[in-house]
Amino acid sequence: MSRTDVSIKTHKKSSLNEKTKEAISGYLYVSPFFILFAIFGLFPILFSFYLGFQKWNGLGEMEYVGLQNFKWVLTDEIFWTSLTNTLIMWVLGTLPQLLIGIILAYALNSALIRMKSFFRVSIFMPYVTSTVAVAIVFGIMFNSQEFGLFNVIFGLFGVDPISWGTSWWGVKVAISTMVFWRWVGYNTIIYLAGLQAIPNELYEAAQIDGATIRQKIQYITIPMLRPIIILTVFTSTIGALQLFTEPLIYIGRTYREEGITVVLYLYREAFSNLAFGPASAAAIILFIIIIIISSINVLIANRIGR
């Protein structure tokens, strides 16, 4: 009895070793990401949660102030303006981007179009450009004077020059256009990949059953694309809520109320006003808002194509 006991034990031990070895190599393989994430992702996140409850100017001593920072941010009119701006630019920039992305992807996927690679590359090109360069070029096109490109174009239709740099809607339309132009290709390519993954047999079967194009889109394309749509809605929503570079370059360091976004607001608090506490509090509030909006997104997206 004792002999068998021992043999079982040794056997067990060696198998455990084998397992741990595998586990170690597994962890080693995935560790680079997690270590980098811990340093450049997790630490800053946790640190800003900590900072949200401190008063700190970036160089001096920190001081615990409880919920004071949150109170300041939530009672600050400019914070609410920045939130409204962000949401408006989200709608203006993201919705058309996704709708037109699907249409473009459908067109690119159809058998009718020639030189597909050329069109795919050109549609994707804006995504590769530098945001700063885009913002500067668009800044020139959205010149507020009469001779600005867009004002000239609108002028042909008898519209008075619009002050794209200072008016409530002008600034938002200009920034949203930049975002739209830059991201529409990215979403198109993702949709295209999704479309190509749909087996042709489904369309053929529908064809035989005499389905119209509209029916094919409604009953095959959209339901099959659902996971992709959820993904793009997710990423572009989060991206839109974190809008920063375009408005920063476009309206400059004046942080005008017409174009300030939530991230620009917290950037201003931290690096212009040296109020790192309220800035972190605003970041935490934005984090919560993103969670809420993403959850709503999931609910809505789950209904698409049902």
């Binding site: 586990a23 080693l28 600050d76 507020s144 004077q145 690096f271 212009s272 109020a275």
Partner: protein, 432 residues
């Protein structure tokens, strides 16, 4: 058991990474400030962060030739980037250079963190204080003058650039002396503006901010008093009212600084004067209006000059060689070297000694109708007032500018915009 192993693996990995980064860091500081990297064991190497076009490269080479034991590495970038890098490295406690250039707009922010810099008074700054203009020297000091964070480099004394063609059309004097006599107060500036408008249909000035700045800079106190209380109602409200009144009468345009429109207007000659223009604006006008040579000239601002821009050289507390760093910057900011960097890069000297130098005073500029630029700016430099700026100067400046632009572009009510700006300023100030 498994968990325990995982912990070991993870912690050893983290340790390895930390050890790695430690290695890098010590390697980095060997490059930058290492004492034993040199062959003879005496080499002092200094990291030197600068921005803008300073022309310091040439001077640094010269210094290293004279001091073979000193090795200076220049790191050049955009002003905003250099300030941010300095801020984060000081905040993190590692990575700051031995010498950092800091612009006037950021100096108070860093002066607020005194313990992160060497007090240059401890290394002989008081001995060279006499070299510099008083107001410039005071800008890099704490309130009681016991702490000197930096040595002055260049300054930006302001003058009034004007278009001779527009003045001529308006029937006003085109000669700089005569014009300065004609427009010697802000009242006469306003009268001249009405003449220009009536005769040419053009505004007197283009950017509201510049007119406001010119008036503001003539005040003894501007945005804050020395207790850091906001005092704009009593100090610059008048300047704001003057500017907005002229805006409403179409005597001032609506361009914001640094926009393409603003640059174009320099070439078009669509306005008469640019008050509050410092020496470095010369290069800016030439760049934006390369073909307008002879149409621009320089006169004094009515009622006195201000200062716009200019930098300081500081020694962050991380440096291992404060004395060597100080010796170098004291040399670099001495009158002779400031004159050199004026000749190389156009940085206007902050050392009045230079203003008596014949060669310096003989500097003229064909573009500005042969105006004796050095002499005009030197005169302006001596009339600048010492002003306490305070750490939040830029915040107030940004919001007041927004108010001015709203009045100019949107036709908003000046008083409402002022009140809104004050509210925005207060809400930002109270949370620090």
């Amino acid at each position: 058991m498994k968990k325990w192993l995982m912990l070991v693996v993870f912690s050893s990995l983290v340790f390895a990474l930390v050890a790695c980064s430690d290695d890098n860091e010590s390697a980095g500081s060997d490059d930058g400030g290492g004492n034993d990297s040199g062959g003879d064991g005496e080499t002092v190497s200094l990291d030197f962060w600068i921005f803008g076009s300073t022309g310091y490269g040439e001077l640094v080479d010269e210094y290293m030739e004279e001091h073979p034991n000193v090795e200076i590495t220049i790191n050049e970038g955009e002003m905003e980037d250099m300030h941010n890098n300095l801020f984060t490295s000081i905040s993190a406690g590692s990575g700051a250079p031995d010498i950092a250039q800091i612009e006037i707009s950021a100096i108070k922010k860093f002066l607020d963190a005194q313990d992160q810099f060497y007090n240059l008074n401890d290394y002989g700054a008081e001995d060279v204080a006499g070299n510099f203009l008083d107001w410039k020297w005071a800008q890099a000091q704490n309130v009681d003058g016991s702490f000197q964070i930096g040595l002055p480099t260049d300054i930006g004394p302001t003058t009034m650039f004007y278009r001779t063609d527009v003045m001529e059309e308006a029937g006003l004097p085109t000669d700089r002396e005569e014009l300065a006599e004609e427009i010697d107060t802000w009242d006469s500036y306003y009268e001249a503006a009405k003449t220009v408008k009536a005769e040419t249909g053009k505004p007197m000035a283009d950017a509201p901010q510049l007119v406001f700045n010119a008036l503001r800079d003539q005040q003894d106190q501007q945005y804050f008093n020395e207790d850091d209380e906001l005092i704009i109602e009593d100090t610059v409200k008048e300047a704001y009212d003057y500017t907005t009144k002229m805006i409403q009468e179409d005597l001032i345009g609506q361009n914001e600084l640094w926009t393409p429109e603003w640059g174009n207007a320099m070439a078009d000659g669509s306005y008469a004067t640019m008050p509050g223009a410092p020496g470095w604006m010369v290069a800016n006008v030439k760049g934006n209006a390369p073909d307008a040579g002879g149409n621009w000239d320089i006169a004094n601002i009515p009622e006195g000059a201000g200062n716009w821009g200019g930098s300081f050289l500081t020694v962050p507390a991380e440096s291992e060689y404060p004395q060597e760093a100080f010796d170098f910057i004291a040399w670099l900011t001495a009158p002779e070297q400031q004159l050199r960097s004026f000749e190389i890069a156009g940085l206007f000297p902050s050392t009045p000694d230079v203003y008596e130098n014949e060669e310096f005073l003989a500097t003229t500029d064909e573009y500005f109708n042969g105006a004796p630029t050095a002499q005009i700016f030197a005169e302006a430099a001596q009339s600048v007032k010492t002003v306490y700026m305070g750490i939040n100067y830029a915040t107030v400046d940004t919001e007041l500018n927004t108010a001015l632009i709203n009045v100019a572009v949107e036709g908003a009510d000046p008083q409402e915009e002022w009140d809104a700006a004050v509210e925005r300023i207060n809400s930002q100030l109270e949370r620090q």
